[in-house]
Symmetry: C2
Subunit: 414 residues, 2 copies
């Protein structure tokens, strides 16, 4: 007789369901759909020749090493490369502060394993990245959220949220996914002062920091922390776990990202990673290192900035031109996304269906909220498709919004 | 002020420590050490040219796909390839039964997430694979073990162990790591009958099944289960979760392995994998597929069988020649390891230190036991070094054993 598998599943699986984005994306993969729903880098700008050459060289010169098991912490030259780059912000990071992960999603999962007991609260921004919610919910996290505005998380509202005793704060400093906003320098300092005062760790997730299209770079929280608390010896010892990735600057298909944290935290994360996947692909780490080295990554990121800035500008101009007056959106200084606030009462799932009927797609914003009653919002990606299709897509989306507004029953508001 | 990180760690981290093997291996990486301690494939037989050609072709023809994000379940042609191979045992496996994982270690970790509530018991063989213990302990598993002999797990002793109400059984059917033993056909049938009767899932971990050097292949438990219970429609629906990997047949450095399970189990594992690492490297899956296809993997495995058989035979002959009479060892029909039983009272850690002083290394067997008072044992790997060094290493190890026996205080036995 077949066993009853569902009866054997562990309690933690109850909160684990398929991501909304994932299910919606299946509807939008027809080539005629202009999709603002993904979060994909522009495939036509992948540095393919450089990858070709890197693969060739790694296999010709180091195949015994590249195809073999490797250390859990990661490939030493890549860890050194990462430590060196972060040190340019004035925070002293050594290789002992760096662990390579299989994409940033694994970093989030390992941090959940490290810090979350079932029922522990995580302090998040409202809205926040849904991949983090997925990772933390698998460890049975609860959430307390703090609103954001154009300058990022509203630090003036932190005190109230901290009364829930969160285990850590999960913060996206630059061009936040989904909202596209960046935390100001003043608020970064305020956030670090509060975290230091309460002894609360911050997990700083910074996949987009290098993709800035206007304005000046602001030091990451990890650098502010080192500066304000003097955690700035040979090797960082502070309150922040910092994450970033090569997925947005080189290519996501190699699943190579990293964690920077105090050395003792890296040790414990390494033990957890041993149980989780032993180590990240040796070959991929060596190939990524060969691709990134000798300044190539900076040249390539400069090219991406030019491409993505044009696409962002095309989307912003099209929104100005086509959107009804009641619709609002953020102005991201970088990254891949902007965030749209729809008029109160807009039925976003109905809008999504109407948009897909018109062959344009976005992500309904409710997936990015941890609490009840999310406002009607949408995440739009501008990195994946070219400018002409962006303009046409926004035109179609505006028509869908007008259509849904015209046909929806107005909500009575108190 | 720096926060107190250790005070913030989750309860599950208490049982998570660095693997014994990992720490010991650090002592044995000097080139003059003949190491039987690793579990590494022979790097000199990696099919490097085939990997070169596969990388070149994948990047030339499918770079937009290979370097981009991909589906969590895995690359469809690779899933089809795996389903087809397992079907050769007479079990009907469709792509819906297959998920790609980032090495078998991730498969073990995802299965732990799926099935283990804190305090749940897992039924394991005595001894069992330490990577599985690491993965399951991160979910706060307890263990109940069942002894093994030359025919594998002693099914006659299962009834007693089942009184602990284990959540599932974790079984290595072929050339077990560490003991090198294979479960007989009769015991496989007995095991499946008992599992079906009790409604207990079996996790069948089979990384070495293709590396058989003598005797005939025996159907895996998943095939026996399908046959005995009639779970043999278009798509397997039974009681077994089956794991295997390309790490031992092609190369471990690409971290590409798989799970075969009923479709609903694969769905839930896919949701867990989304939170854990989103997906396994698209590039690696496509490269592995290009390397394995068109019969290459079978040709390559045939070559590995010849090489590893010779190394196994060299080790067995050297053991016969050099070991003191009281030492016993298993005769593996395949795989990478054999298992040595040392005389009662042998201080294995002292022996290890003495061996390393003589520039030979092994893994002390205690790491492979889940219960107290492990007997004095050692795991020896024969795949990594050539025959001459194997013979010399066994000679040195026998001297170390004689030395330690001569100088150790005899234990009084009741």
């Amino acid at each position: 007789m077949s066993i009853l598998w569902e009866s054997r599943y562990a309690l933690r699986t109850k909160g684990v369901t398929s991501s909304t984005i994932r299910e919606l994306l299946k509807l939008t993969q027809r080539p005629e759909v202009i999709s603002f729903a993904g979060g994909l880098p522009a495939a036509e700008y992948f540095p393919v020749e450089r990858f070709q050459e890197a693969c060739r060289r790694v296999l010709a010169e180091q195949s015994h090493h590249a195809l073999q098991y490797g250390p859990t912490e990661g490939y030493m030259p890549l860890r050194e490369f990462i430590a060196g780059r972060l040190s340019s912000y004035g925070v002293h990071v050594s290789v002992d502060n760096v662990m390579i992960t299989s994409g940033s999603q694994q970093a989030l999962s390992l941090i959940g394993a490290l810090l979350i007991n079932p029922g522990d609260h995580v302090l998040v921004e409202r809205p926040t990245y849904l991949g983090a919610i997925q990772a933390f919910t698998a460890y049975q996290a609860c959430y307390v959220d703090v609103p954001t505005d154009a300058d990022g998380i509203r630090t003036s509202e932190l005190a109230e949220a901290l009364r829930h005793g969160p285990k850590f704060m999960y913060i996206l400093p630059n061009f936040q996914n989904p909202a596209g906003v960046t935390i100001s320098r003043e608020r970064r300092h305020e956030l670090i002062r509060i975290a230091q005062g309460h002894g609360i760790p911050i997990v700083e997730d910074d996949p987009y920091g290098e993709l800035r299209y206007e304005g000046e770079a602001i030091e990451p929280l990890v650098a502010v922390d080192a500066e304000l608390a003097g955690h700035n010896g040979d090797s960082y010892t502070g309150n922040v776990i910092y994450l970033s990735t090569f997925s947005k600057t080189l290519a996501p298909g190699l699943r190579t990202a990293w964690i920077v944290a105090p050395k003792n935290v890296i040790s414990k994360l390494t033990q957890l990673k041993q149980g989780a996947d032993l180590h990240t692909s040796t070959f991929n780490q060596m190939v990524i290192y060969e691709v990134a080295r000798d300044g190539f990554i900076d040249e390539h990121v400069a090219e991406l900035r030019t491409v993505y800035r044009k696409r962002r500008d095309a989307m912003l101009a099209a929104l100005d031109r086509y959107m009804p007056a009641e619709v609002e959106w953020t102005h991201p200084d970088g990254g891949l996304f902007l965030w749209m606030q729809l008029p109160a009462g807009t039925p976003v799932r109905t809008l999504f269906e109407e948009a897909v009927r018109r062959n344009v797609a976005f992500v309904p914003g409710d997936a990015f909220f941890t609490g009840p009653n999310p406002p009607p919002t949408a995440r739009l990606n501008f990195s994946t498709v070219g400018e002409d299709r962006i303009i046409e897509g926004i035109r179609r989306l505006s028509e869908a919004i007008v259509q849904v507004q015209a046909s929806s029953v107005p909500l009575s508001t108190p």
